[in-house]
């Protein structure tokens, strides 16, 4: 491995660890302000919303198959989960449906 690849690799590792550790280091000695308590409660639902929408952002809805496999499989996952609330069933059924749809649509 060249010095360049090693350097790039170490830089990536250091930056990633910094991003993950920063909030814990910053609030190790001081109490987080009240606004952080408020945010802690609402960040998870907002992040899940962003991650779901982010998973769909690369799909071309203007060209066939118009994102239909992704939308149909996603709706099945959500509906199954609202109905049965069994994580594995929701995910396996949705993924299997998606794998079938992308092969036939």
């Amino acid at each position: 491995m060249s010095a360049y690849v090693l350097g790039a690799f170490l830089a990536m590792a250091a930056v990633t660890i910094f991003c993950r550790a920063a909030p814990f280091l910053f609030f190790m000695k001081r109490r987080p302000p009240a606004v952080v308590d408020y945010l802690q409660k609402y960040i998870p639902p907002m992040i899940m919303t962003v991650l779901v929408l982010g998973s769909y952002k690369g799909i071309s809805f203007a060209r066939a198959p118009y994102g239909l496999p992704e939308l149909a499989a996603g709706l099945v996952v959500a509906a199954l989960h609202l109905w049965k609330r069994n994580t594995l069933v929701s995910i396996f059924a949705g993924t299997a449906l998606y794998m079938i749809l992308i092969r036939i649509v």
Binding site: M12, L39, I47, T49
Partner: protein, 227 residues
């Protein structure tokens, strides 16, 4: 052992979707990295020590193009800055953690974050053991996938195209769970608007961080109404 066994069992059950997603996406990463001229073990070492999927994929192209180390560092920061927000919302949850705290912080990915903020630890287990098992299982799937892809990616006989939808499905399931617990519409509407904004303003590489920062800025005015 009974307590730890129960933590491990619950963690495995919660992480099966990640198993599907990380192994297949890891294989794709390992295969790409080796095809770009890097040695197979770099895939394994990167997945052990960097452990950040999107940044690792990005690195394949950047390394091949000889992008400067400073630029690689800045791009890695842009991609992974969202983890600062994740950490911010885990301060309380990790507060009581001691033994594995350093590892929990190191191994925080989108999927691990989603599971830990949504799936409650089993009642008879130490929560920290459950968090550590989820984090370590998720990382092991990623390391196994990327090593496998780097060594034998070209030999896989069956067509796995589409298995990675399991991660989208996992995010949808976690969102449904959030909707059942956090029964206010504001966070979902704000996050949807923020995503729309990010789609218009940001490139595909920094969609997540722009959307998340916009969502946080957008939820602040609702503080009085929501508390």
């Amino acid at each position: 052992m009974g307590k730890n066994g129960s933590a491990l069992r619950a963690a495995f059950k919660a992480s099966v979707p990640v198993l599907l997603g990380y192994v297949t996406i890891g294989i794709a990463f390992g295969l790409l990295l080796v095809k770009s001229g890097q040695p197979w073990w770099l895939a394994a070492v990167m997945s052990c020590i960097v452990f950040a999927g999107a940044a690792q994929f990005m690195a394949v192209g950047l390394l091949a193009a000889g992008t400067s180390i400073a630029e690689i560092a800045v791009l890695t920061f842009v991609i992974n800055a969202r983890h600062m927000v994740y950490g911010l919302s885990l301060l309380d949850r990790y507060e009581g953690c001691r033994r594995f705290k350093a590892y929990l912080v190191f191994a925080l990915t989108d999927e691990t974050y989603g599971i830990l903020t949504t799936v409650p630890p089993p009642g008879d287990a130490d929560p920290e053991a459950f968090y550590a098992c989820v984090s370590a299982l998720d990382q092991s799937y990623w390391v196994i996938g990327s090593t496998l892809g780097a060594l034998a990616g070209g030999l896989i006989p069956f067509d796995t195209k589409g298995v990675d939808f399991a991660l989208t499905a996992l995010f949808i399931v976690l969102l449904v769970e959030q909707v059942k617990t956090v029964r206010r519409s504001a966070p979902y509407l704000v996050a949807t608007a923020a995503s729309g904004l990010a789609l218009l303003l940001a490139g595909p590489g920094n969609f997540l961080i722009v959307a998340i920062l916009a969502a946080i800025a957008g939820i602040l005015p609702f503080r009085k109404a929501l508390s």
